[in-house]
């Protein structure tokens, strides 16, 4: 690649995009993938037809083509799944912790063996780039099982002076942005602590969870320990409101999280919520700017911006704002948007038509609010749901594009002068999931990371995840942690 001075005024001193930058297509092979035409519910160790006999389509958002149809679980199906989980709990919770751990290790290994299949199906069903599903989602999902497996027979070390006991049946509802990874985050600690599970994947991305059901079955995990029911909001509500569920774990929007918190108010169900975010990504003038720009890009465009901890609010110190924004625009120009199955693709398809419409609505709102729109000039495929990488300059604290979670590749940019100012602005929001800080000065990093009211703070990096690292929010971003030592607590009682 060569770089030349551009003639375009807005990328002055930047990169020249008028030359031929095209990459040769590098499509991931999909022929080895075996998919059924129709998927049933995984209850008590078997795939069973739904009571309603109804199925809904799951669509590839990059092609708008139907991939398969999936069972729509109603209250009766959920009741069957909860009963299976309750029956299995009696034995599973008494299974020796060492053996319990070995089942979970086995699940991790089976996932690793089928990793490429999982990655391809994840990309087909959800639209994320194959590079991300192959290198991040799937390996991390397997690692979560591997990590938690080892806790099963060591729980007394996790809670000093206590004797942790499982809660019972855990009802788990997960979102569409990291379908397999979220299933792993939820199922692995629940099993390690001796609970049984009824899990509902999101209605737009059910396939990898159903593939996971095959793995669970093949692993020899006793029937009913994990049950996977597919469906939309009604199915989720049936899980949340089922009287024999002891624990509800939800990842998704703050609005739905609040509804769930309210609807179980009259019960003793334990709850963890991992909800929305609107993270501040803060760039100081003494930051390594090129690395910071990579961090901004990764912060907001990773997974099409469908990330609860996305760095969707950029704060740049005024003295370096011009150069950072110029570099950012240049970098946005070089992002490859398109076929998620292509190994060169940076930004894949928006998960659903509904979500694309929501993002487009926010882009309209941002323009109407008076922020200055900038989009990459890339072409996007004619078919499928795609959105150009987008940023809004001169956004202000009161703008809806600054206050509300967009969940797409849209970045709101603000500038600041002093540390006090940026701390105030970064925290002045109902969310508190994550934050990013970029500076070369160690004491400044610790000053900022201490003062951010957020559960995960990345300093000179962004959007990193690991099974050993607790994840979760402050304030309206939810409560409870997932991952690490702290991720066990929501699944035990003393």
């Amino acid at each position: 690649m060569t770089t030349k001075t551009s003639k375009k005024p807005e990328t002055k001193l930047g990169l020249d995009f008028t030359t031929d930058w095209a990459y040769a297509p590098a499509p991931e092979d999909t022929k080895h993938i075996k998919l059924e035409k129709q998927y049933d519910l995984f209850i008590d160790g078997k795939f069973v037809k739904p009571n309603s006999k109804k199925y809904f389509d799951t669509v590839n958002p990059a092609t708008e083509q139907k991939i398969a149809e999936v069972a729509d679980a109603d209250e009766k199906d959920v009741d069957k799944a909860v009963k299976a989980a309750r029956k299995a709990f009696a034995k599973w919770s008494k299974t020796s912790p060492k053996e319990r751990g070995k089942y979970i290790y086995r699940i991790a290994r089976l996932m690793q063996e089928r990793a490429r299949e999982f990655a391809v199906v994840e990309t087909m069903d959800g639209g994320k780039s194959i590079r991300e599903s192959r290198d991040i989602d799937v390996p991390l999902a397997a690692n979560h099982f591997f990590y938690n497996a080892g806790w099963a027979d060591k729980l007394e070390y996790a809670f000093p002076n206590r004797n942790p006991q499982p809660l019972g049946v855990a009802g788990q509802i997960i979102p569409w942005n990291f379908p397999l990874l979220m299933a792993a985050w939820k199922i692995a600690p629940a099993l390690a602590t001796g609970n049984t599970v009824v899990l509902k994947p999101a209605e737009t991305t059910p396939l990898t969870a159903l593939k996971l059901a095959e793995v669970l079955r093949d692993s020899g995990l006793p029937d009913g320990v994990v049950n996977i029911v597919t469906g939309a909001g009604r199915t989720g509500a049936a899980i949340v409101n089922h009287p024999d569920v002891n624990k509800v774990a939800f990842t998704g929007s703050t609005d739905v999280g609040k509804l769930i918190q309210k609807s179980i108010a009259g019960t003793d169900k334990k709850l963890t919520l991992e909800l929305g975010g609107k993270a501040a990504n803060i760039i100081f003038e003494d930051a390594p700017l090129d690395q910071a720009v990579e961090g901004i890009i990764n912060g907001i465009f990773f997974n099409q911006g469908h990330v609860c901890c996305a760095g969707s609010r950029l704060f740049v110190q005024e003295s370096v704002a011009d150069i950072v924004i110029r570099k950012l625009k240049d970098r946005m120009e070089s992002l490859i948007v398109g076929d998620p199955m292509d190994k060169n693709t940076d930004i894949g398809a928006i998960n659903s038509k509904e979500q694309l419409l929501k993002i487009q609505e926010y882009i309209k709102i941002g323009k109407n609010e008076g922020a200055e729109l900038y989009q990459s000039s890339c072409s996007i495929p004619g078919k499928g749901y795609f959105c150009r990488p987008t940023l809004f300059l001169n956004a202000s604290q009161s703008h809806r594009i600054v206050q509300e979670e967009i969940f797409g590749p849209v970045l709101a940019v603000q500038t600041f002068r002093t540390i006090e100012e940026v701390i105030e602005k970064a925290n002045n929001i109902p969310y508190g999931l994550s934050a990013g800080v970029w500076t070369d000065k160690g004491s400044k990093i610790f000053n900022l990371t201490t003062k951010m009211r957020a559960g995960v703070v990345w300093a000179n990096t962004y959007n990193k995840f690991d099974p050993t690292s607790p994840f979760g929010g402050y304030k309206e971003s939810g409560f409870g942690r997932e991952g690490g030592l702290h991720g066990l607590l929501p699944y035990v009682k003393f």
Binding site: N143, P160, N161, R162, T254, G257, K258, L259, I260, Q261, K262, I264, A265, G266, L273, L275, P430, I445, T449, M452, A454, G455, V456, V457, W458, A459, N460, T461, K464, D466, T468, S469, P470, F471, G472, Y474, K475, E476, S477, G478, F479, R481, G484, L485, H486, F494
Partner: protein
């Protein structure tokens, strides 16, 4: 002529001040014989809102105090309470306890404060972790206080219940607004005087007297309250509190089965309830092939 006793006016405690309730309302507190002992403030929603403003204002300062300093202040509260033992015992007796039970309650309360004074600079080590992530990053998790905490204290206990409810919350760097026992409110007001002479910054603990049936919905629906702890067992109130909590995703903890006099009523896990775990990542630069292998 026999000396006329000077009676005490029982007021509430907000932001380090002792105002009367802004509502001007009161309820009479009677002893077993039915004589009025005192007129107690019947706190209002507005009092609560004022107290939240005070608690929010105090949070940043209290939270950033050195843990060691918080520890010394909690210990100081214990010292002050010990020094005024007789007054508390007398109040407990006035409110219906026998002398022995009253002495025990005060001693337990002092000891509980000392217990949590000790935890102030130790729970962090117990609840933190360094996480061995697979990538080249230094990654650690530490507890930080949740923020402003509303507390509806036990009804059956005048002093020990109050101390049990407050101590883990402020030991962990939170600030709070406490609704004292309605039927046994005297010690709460006197305990506020102890707090006020213990170097505890104003606004860290705010104490209201009044009626839970009236106030629980306001305690739980306020948008600038981060958590609520409920020490009573009124099922309808618990439901309302949990429902209202969803307005701003409040953390709710219900301790309706706590045996206050038992050691089980105190633990670092009660501090943990009001902590958020923050995880911080930073890259580790791996330069060349140098290893620290010698």
């Amino acid at each position: 002529m026999e000396r006329l006793e000077v009676l005490k006016t029982y007021k509430i405690y907000i932001g380090g001040q002792f105002p009367r309730t802004e509502s001007g309302r009161f309820y009479p507190l009677k002893n077993k014989k039915g004589d009025v002992i005192a007129n107690i403030c019947l706190s209002s929603r507005k009092d609560f809102r004022n107290a939240v403003v005070a608690a929010r204002g105090a949070f940043g300062g209290w939270n950033s105090r050195a843990a060691f300093n918080r520890s010394q202040i909690l210990y100081r509260i214990a010292e002050m309470l010990e020094g005024r033992k007789d007054q508390f015992i007398a109040e407990l007796v006035t409110q219906g306890l026998n002398t022995k039970a009253a002495q025990e309650e005060v001693s337990l309360s002092v000891d509980r404060l000392v217990y949590y004074a000790g935890w102030c600079d130790k729970y962090q080590a117990i609840l933190s972790s360094v996480n061995p992530v697979a990538s080249s990053h230094f990654n650690f998790s530490v507890p930080e206080p949740t923020g402003v905490v509303a507390i509806i204290a036990p009804e059956e206990s005048s002093l020990l219940g109050l101390v049990t409810a407050i101590a883990p919350v402020i030991a962990g760097g939170n600030t709070c607004i406490v609704l004292a026992s309605e039927s046994k409110p005297l010690c709460a007001v006197t305990f506020a005087e102890v707090l006020n002479t213990s170097d505890l910054p104003g606004g860290v603990v705010n104490i209201l007297t009044g009626n839970s049936a009236e106030l629980h919905s306001h305690f739980s629906s306020h948008m600038d309250v981060n958590a609520l702890i409920y020490y009573r067992n009124n099922k309808a109130e618990i439901k309302t509190i949990k429902e209202n909590a969803s307005l701003n995703v409040k953390r709710i903890f219900v301790y309706d089965q706590l045996a206050l006099a038992s050691d089980k009523a105190q633990s670092p896990y009660m501090i943990y309830d009001l902590q958020e775990i923050k995880t911080t990542w930073h890259p580790i630069e791996n330069i060349g092939s140098a290893k620290a292998g010698y």
